[in-house]
Amino acid sequence: MIGIAYKTAQEMVFGNALHPVTTPSGIVIGGGAVIPEVNYTLPPMVINETTLPEVRLRYREMTRRILQRAVELRQEVLILEFEQLYELTQYPHWGAYVTSDIKEVMEEFTRTYGVKSALRVTIADIRDKERPPRMRSGEPMQTMLKAFDQCAAAGADILSIESTGGKELTDRALLDGDIEGLVYGLGVLAPNDMVYLWDHIVAIARKHGVIAGGDTACGFANTAMQLAHQRMLPKVLAAIVRLMAAPRSLVAIERGATGPLKDCAYENPILKAITGVPISMEGKTSACAHSSPYGNLTAAVCDLWSNESVQDVKLLSGYTPEVFTEMLIYDCRLMNTALRQNAGQMLRDLLVQSDHRTDIQSLVMDLDVCFETARRIKEAGTDSYARTLAATRWALEVLLQAQQNNVTEFSRSETRWLNHLSNAIQSLPETPDELRHRLKTEYNSLFIPAEYELWI
């Protein structure tokens, strides 16, 4: 048996990672306490040369209010996430301006109130703007790397991205409910792209002495979850895609990312089990950005606790970024109190048990299931395709068993889909080349193999 970082699921608990990460400002992530991570964004507005001063002012104001609320609630450490909108990556110096604006406010609060903070900058994957996208050749990749470099220079402490390699294929395959397209996109294209992309990101992070955070399968598994939430796709499909996406996200760590992995990635507990890196998670308190089918469960082994993304809007008590900051702080307070009282495992189990059987999608996110997923991925070796097959088959096994044992409700249409997907998964070929030949011919126009250095 090949070992993964943790020996048992029991050893894993929120606030603690085998390999904690320390930010330049001295915040230890995964070192014994859960820290809130606040992600805040602009309300609907145009971003251009003319509105840039307003954009920058708004980010400064949002940052100030968030940190003010932290001070009022005596929260001494905080992670902020600046997740770039398209234009802010497209014009790297704009994103860098905002980065340094935010950092300036953070430093002011450290000086004035002693509150420590670190800034995660998530670069937009602007390659997703062309169809079929040019993943490596041409301008978008160069611009993104410039954006990473300039933001790291401007004060980013942690670099992240939600990279979209393979998404041009999986977007279509999702709507078709086509397992083969999904496996090819997530098991071949995505990992292939991430090797290239993350080698560059890690090099930039090292150059600036900042942290290479991680990459999420947001554009794949969260897209599936959202489509399932809107009843566009069956939940069984979304559940399988969730586990299928884990091997892809593992690539970033293998190329040198150290965590904290980014919140959008519900696959993070699996990656933490395999590698021991600290992770950010989102759940109930990210209801501002999307509904979660497992809002408590996701906190079970988190090291950062995030609100995903909230637009700056006024409510009765103030603006939404500070409102969600307050809620995250109280969530973390409870978890950290439990850790101090030696009740961490106990609260972790309550969080898991409160959700793990209420929805088809939560079945595969149960902590024990995640742990076993981690084990099987590792056991499948170093090849992403083999790992993806292993994760996919295991997800199917979990769902089939749950359906047979009536663990949660499967509607007639979900059951029909489960059987359909079962057949499709059982007939998946063992090599990516075989799968490539089987793919629907309509897919050929969707992606450019050469952009992945594939020649078939």
Partner: protein
């Protein structure tokens, strides 16, 4: 006759393209009026598919294969329909606005509208105001359907509406807007004719806008 129509109907619901084309051809050969095949066989089937979707029995993949089966049948039917002067419910120019690549929602709306026998001119994603204007003019469209997923691209909906006004086309076409961040208030503010929270309600809206 009944049996043929039923087979076309069933073929669409099951997404069986081959069955639909075979049976449509057979029906035409047997002299069934194209409008009857269209309305009693195909449109009725797509309505049932829509109902199954509403009820959670069908998902998008089933709707897609049904729509493709319908389109295959429609390809055979179209030349005859033109002769018989049967018109589409209306012409829709659709696209996601400038700067926005998120086209899943727009694609769903197009598919559902097609199922409800609208004619769709799909401009794809990242569509500039000028291209919308051109298409409305060129195709004599009844409806412009714009989608945006990003709050930063939403303002381009208003830019497009203003471009339609400037081109003197705003009175000749209805404007639908949609996408996660779009609210009824926003639609009203920018001068659109309506918005719908999801793809199937978009069909209801489109029908009501052109009085179909």
């Amino acid at each position: 006759m009944e049996a043929l129509l039923q087979a076309i109907y069933d073929g669409i619901i099951d997404g069986n393209k081959d069955q639909v084309t075979a049976k449509v051809q057979e029906a035409l050969d047997n002299g069934l009026p194209p409008e009857t095949i269209l309305n009693q066989g195909m449109v009725a089937a797509m309505a049932e598919v829509g109902r199954l979707f509403e009820e959670g029995e069908y998902f998008v993949p089933e709707m897609l294969v049904a729509a493709r089966a319908m389109q295959a049948g429609l390809a055979l039917l179209k030349p005859k329909l033109v002769q018989a002067d049967v018109k589409a419910a209306g012409k829709v120019v659709a696209g996601t606005v400038k700067g926005d690549l998120h086209d899943i929602g727009k694609n769903l709306v197009c598919m559902m509208l097609e199922g409800a026998s609208f004619e769709i001119i799909d401009l794809g994603s990242d569509v500039s105001p000028e291209r919308f204007v051109e298409a409305v003019q060129a195709y004599q469209a009844d409806i412009v359907a714009m989608s945006a997923l990003l709050t930063t691209t939403m303002p381009n909906m208003k830019v497009t509406i203003d471009a339609l006004k400037a081109a003197g086309l705003r009175d000749k076409v209805k404007v639908m807007v949609g996408g996660a961040p779009v609210t009824p208030e926003f639609a009203r503010e920018i001068g659109a004719d309506g918005t719908a929270p999801d793809a199937s309600q978009a069909v209801t809206l489109a029908k009501s806008l052109i009085g179909a």
